[in-house]
């Protein structure tokens, strides 16, 4: 019963907190650029404004263009409900594991890319092509991170992984460190952050994600934007829950434990948002074809993480 209640609370919370997190990332960026910046609640206002606007749809677009935002948003939201954030006592945790989570994010990407191709403009195709290119290396890297973590913890279920890590079964592992670095690199790529992509740009040569959703407006754009916000929160939760699971509540921890877990989660993702904003101000966007080197590095690190497990054992 608690599992159902916490699961529902978590489902609502990821949606409610996600825009705030995106607003938080923009704060340090604005300060470092010498601007005052919009308040952290600005993304809520943006979503509201988009919902009120009529949706303009291209003549050449098919029905797929209209249902894609719903499919994309629901896939990402569903993926977010799988990942435990403040407690592992959630109804959805046994329903899907990390491989399914990757696949759900893949579904969202699949339909975003198709929507980009649907209007038949050069920009949409450009965005889809580049997005699938980034994912073609980023997704394997993420699967290899899961591989190394599953070797370490004997499970692919995030809840059991967290229980294993907090249970003190593993100390400081080289593999876990390598996996963390790879995971952060994948997270940057999957969310289209600098240096892979720039969520604030509309310059033809540099945009990836924005090019795909260029033709969207009104409520459809609101759904696409919301999906991006939930995805950012999801990746930050993955990093905070899997690699820094301190403070999380478990099955029998009661309401006080869950409240503590909630505070710990909010603190962790806020800190990560600040770090992301700071980091994005420091680096420049890289050329499209350098992305292969960046993500290839992530893939290699994740592979090394699996192999190091046995090297350290053999030594």
């Amino acid at each position: 019963m608690t599992a159902f209640f916490f699961g529902l609370l978590h489902t609502v919370l990821v949606l409610a907190v996600a825009p705030l997190l995106t607003g938080l990332v923009r704060l340090p960026k604005a300060r470092l650029q010498g601007r005052q910046g919009a308040p952290a609640i600005q993304p809520y206002r943006d979503l509201w404004r988009l919902l009120q606007k009529e949706s303009v749809i291209a003549d050449s677009a098919s029905w797929l263009f209209r249902i894609a935002p719903y499919l994309v948003f629901v896939s990402v939201w569903l993926a977010a409900t799988i990942m435990p954030t403040f407690t592992t006592d959630m109804i959805m945790t046994p329903a899907a594991d990390l491989i399914a989570l990757v696949a759900l994010l893949g579904t969202a990407r699949f339909f975003t890319a198709l929507a980009g191709l649907d209007t038949g403009t050069p920009f949409g195709g450009l965005g889809s092509s580049r997005e699938m290119f980034v994912a073609s290396i980023g997704e394997p890297a993420m699967l290899m991170v899961i591989f190394s973590l599953s070797l370490l913890t004997h499970t692919t279920s995030p809840a059991n992984m967290i229980a294993y890590v907090t249970g003190g079964h593993i100390g400081i592992e080289v593999s876990a460190g390598l996996a963390l670095v790879a995971m952060v690199m994948v997270a940057i790529a999957e969310n289209g952050r600098i240096p892979i992509d720039n969520p604030a740009t509309h310059l033809e040569l540099t945009m990836i994600h924005e090019a795909m959703v260029l033709e969207y407006s009104g409520r459809h754009l609101a759904l696409m934007e919301a999906a991006a916000m939930v995805r950012l929160l999801l990746f930050m939760s993955i990093i905070s829950s899997l690699f820094f699971p301190w403070g999380m509540a478990f099955v029998d921890d009661g309401v006080a434990g869950v409240a503590l877990g909630l505070l710990a989660w909010l603190a962790k993702v806020s800190a990560l948002a600040m770090v992301l904003g700071f980091f994005e101000s420091l680096v420049a966007k890289m050329r499209v074809f350098r992305i292969a080197d960046f993500l290839g590095g992530a893939l290699l690190l994740a592979l090394l993480a699996t192999i190091f497990l046995y090297v350290s054992e053999a030594v």
């Binding site: 749809i57 329903a95 696949a103 290119f133 994912a135």
Partner: protein, 668 residues
């Protein structure tokens, strides 16, 4: 019994086709007959799969064949499973053929061979001795070869036929040798005798190697795949669906029969080899597919990828079994067989879809299609379902089998051997890359062909195809969803098939309702029903939220065309431009891809030209290299033809002495 009638029926239909193929009604009658027979065989297979779990199945001996060897037939649970996997897509292809069969360039070269092809494939599945197996296998190769050549005026089809024939002969040669070794000096060609035959380690190794080569060449395993992307697309689309979706599965059946049933104990090294070959096929196959502009060639290369995934799982099963991990071995086998069914379903669906596109537009070049989703809505939706399923998107069936393969792959390093511990992660990288590339490949295939604006007049004038073709695509699309949403029913069924092969029953808790969990509940689980239900719940919530918070206003407007006035359908991303980033990163290394741009001088009205060069390293390196070696040897041997009589007599004498020496040495 029923299956015997079905086999006879296929033969009769073939003869009927040969006699009366001048009437259009005969073609429809033959395809309808094939549909009924294949559907019957599917039902029979399902019935036997459920009925014979493990109980002994009687062999039927019929008095024809070689004088000292009667023909043996037997239908155990493995055969029954493959009967379903083969005949269900065959029934769909027959249904498709009712409308499509008279549309192919030369129907009289296709219709009589279609039932014979089905006859031969079913013959392989129910064979219980090497003779029937090999004769059926050869009949399968030859009938499909003739089907490839049905379009014989096309030079590409003739070349495909030649390469296919050479590879088919090579494959049969390997299988013939493998069965010869298994039968031993006494010539016990029935499978019951082969199961108990004692073989030396060297002979066992040879059998395994020959079995992998023989069946791998038919299944399209890298590097024996060269014929597949030439031959499969050259046949009419409903035959391509059978060749790609079904005939490769018959090859997988042959491999399982040889390595898991006839040869019980195979060393883990062979499993490792199969895994590595499978990984190479998976990653390379889909990378090839990404470079193709021809829709059917793309689908054929994607078959190479999926066969690779099946080989990875089969190899893991051998490696696990040899190291005593029987439960994991059973899991890998379940994963492999699940993917067999899934691939048979969605690859048939996609090939039938390509047939519908060809019928509507006459085009299979992606860069001449576009905007078909609005013009062919049902075909478009079915193709989209197939594309999602093959890209392993939940909640469709492709995801479940790839999830199972990943789960068993992730358990690979539990085998305490350094090769497995360091090899499996590398195989994992190849498999993960293949999965991601497949999604890219099918976004490209569906997006360029069905979305956007038409790139040619033919695509602009496309009309939806007749209902038998639509039904033949809609049924597998529905099954792709069902097999993805109720995976537990499928795995329980497959577990009974796997049980006699690995001698372990997967516990009900592992495969039980409602969670699908590979090893134990804590090691990771997936519940498609739950995911689908929560997804539906979230979707309803989203719809309600958007409806109540926002406006429902919609305005149609012309697309923003960057300031151009004229129609810019050709400014859309094409298939080649879509894969350009991946081509630059991977293609330059693997395929030595080279782009040449020819710009006219300023002021000239000549068009700019872009040429893309791609070379297949395996074709130029391995096959052409082999051809050069054979040519060189043939040149040398050629000298033997121009000798004097004395030399010939001397050679015969020396040969005789040599043979006598061999006999003398062996008798001591």
């Amino acid at each position: 019994m029923i299956i015997g009638t079905v086999l006879g029926g296929f033969l009769c239909l073939g003869v009927l086709g040969l006699l009366g193929s001048s009437l259009a009604a005969t073609h429809r009658l033959i395809y309808a007959g094939c549909l009924v027979l294949a559907a019957t065989a599917t039902g029979d297979g399902l019935f036997h799969m459920i009925r014979y779990g493990q109980e002994a199945v009687p062999a039927v001996v019929l008095p024809f064949g070689l004088p000292w060897l009667k023909a043996h037939f037997r239908l155990d649970s493995l055969s029954a499973f493959f009967l379903v996997a083969v005949n269900f897509p065959a029934a769909l292809a027959s249904l498709f053929g009712i409308a499509y069969g008279s549309h192919v360039p030369e129907p009289r070269r296709v219709t009589p061979l279609f039932p014979l092809f089905l006859f031969a494939m079913n013959g392989v599945l129910v064979a219980d001795d090497a003779f029937v197996f090999l004769v059926s296998w050869e009949a399968m190769s030859l009938s499909s070869w003739l089907l490839v050549l049905s379009n014989h005026t096309d030079a590409a089809a003739r070349r495909a036929g030649l390469v296919y024939l050479v590879m088919a002969v090579f494959g049969t040669f390997c299988l013939l040798s493998a069965f010869g070794l298994l039968a031993g000096p006494t010539g016990a060609f029935d499978f019951a005798a082969m199961r108990v035959a004692k073989l030396s380690p060297l002979a066992t190794s040879l059998v395994v190697l020959l079995a992998i080569l023989g069946t791998g060449s038919k299944a399209g395993l890298v590097p024996l795949h060269a014929w597949l992307p030439l031959a499969h697309p050259a046949a009419p689309s409903h035959v391509s669906a059978l060749m790609s979706g079904v005939m490769t599965k018959v090859a997988i059946y042959g491999l399982i029969r040889l390595l898991y049933d006839l040869r019980g104990a195979v060393g883990w090294e062979w499993g490792f080899l199969m895994m590595v070959l499978g990984a190479a096929a998976a990653a390379l196959g889909v990378l090839y597919a990404l470079m193709q502009r021809d829709l059917k060639t793309l689908l054929a290369y994607s078959t190479v990828e999926n066969v690779g995934i099946i080989f990875i799982a089969l190899g893991l099963a051998i490696a696990f079994r040899d190291h005593g991990e029987v439960a994991l071995s059973a899991l890998s086998m379940v994963a492999a067989l699940y993917h067999v069914v899934n691939h048979a379903l969605f690859k048939s669906l996609l090939f039938l879809g390509s047939g519908a596109v060809m019928m509507a537009t006459g085009e299979r070049d992606l860069d001449r299609l576009g905007g078909l989703l609005n013009r062919m809505p049902v075909t478009g939706v079915c193709f989209l379902v197939g594309a999602c399923a093959i890209s392993a998107l939940p909640p469709l069936n492709g995801f479940v089998s790839e999830w199972l393969v990943f789960q068993s792959l992730f358990k690979g390093p539990t085998v305490a051997h350094w090769a497995m511990r360091f090899g499996v992660p590398v195989v994992g990288v190849a498999m993960a890359l293949a999965a991601a590339f497949a999604a890219t490949c099918f976004v490209r295939a569906f997006g360029v062909a069905f979305l956007g604006r038409p790139r040619s007049d033919a695509a602009r004038a496309a009309r939806e195809v007749p209902w038998p073709m639509l039904a033949a695509m809609a049924v597998p699309a529905v099954f792709c969803l069902c097999l993805g949403v109720f995976p537990v029913m499928v795995t329980t069924g497959i577990a009974t098939v796997v049980e006699p092969l690995v001698h372990v029953v997967l516990p009900a808790a592992v495969l039980g309702w409602p969670w699908l969990s590979p090893v134990s509940l804590t090691a990771g689980s997936y519940s498609a029903t739950m995911v689908l239900l929560s997804g539906a719940g979230l979707m309803i919530t989203t719809l309600l939220l958007v409806r109540h918070l926002g406006t429902r206003a919609i305005r149609r407007a012309p697309v923003w065309d960057c300031g151009h006035q004229e129609d810019i359908a050709n400014a859309q991303y094409s298939a080649d431009s879509f894969s350009q980033p991946l081509r630059r990163v991977f293609g330059q290394v693997v395929f030595r891809a080279r782009e040449e741009v020819e710009m006219p001088p300023p002021g000239s009205t000549a068009p700019a030209r872009f040429t893309l060069f791609i070379t297949d390293p395996l074709w130029t390196g391995l096959y052409l290299g082999l051809q050069r070696v054979i040519d060189a040897i043939a040149d040398r041997v050629n000298h033997l033809q121009f000798q004097t009589v004395r030399r010939y007599l001397l050679m015969m004498f020396l040969t005789l002495v040599l043979l006598l020496l061999v006999v003398a040495v062996r008798q001591q």
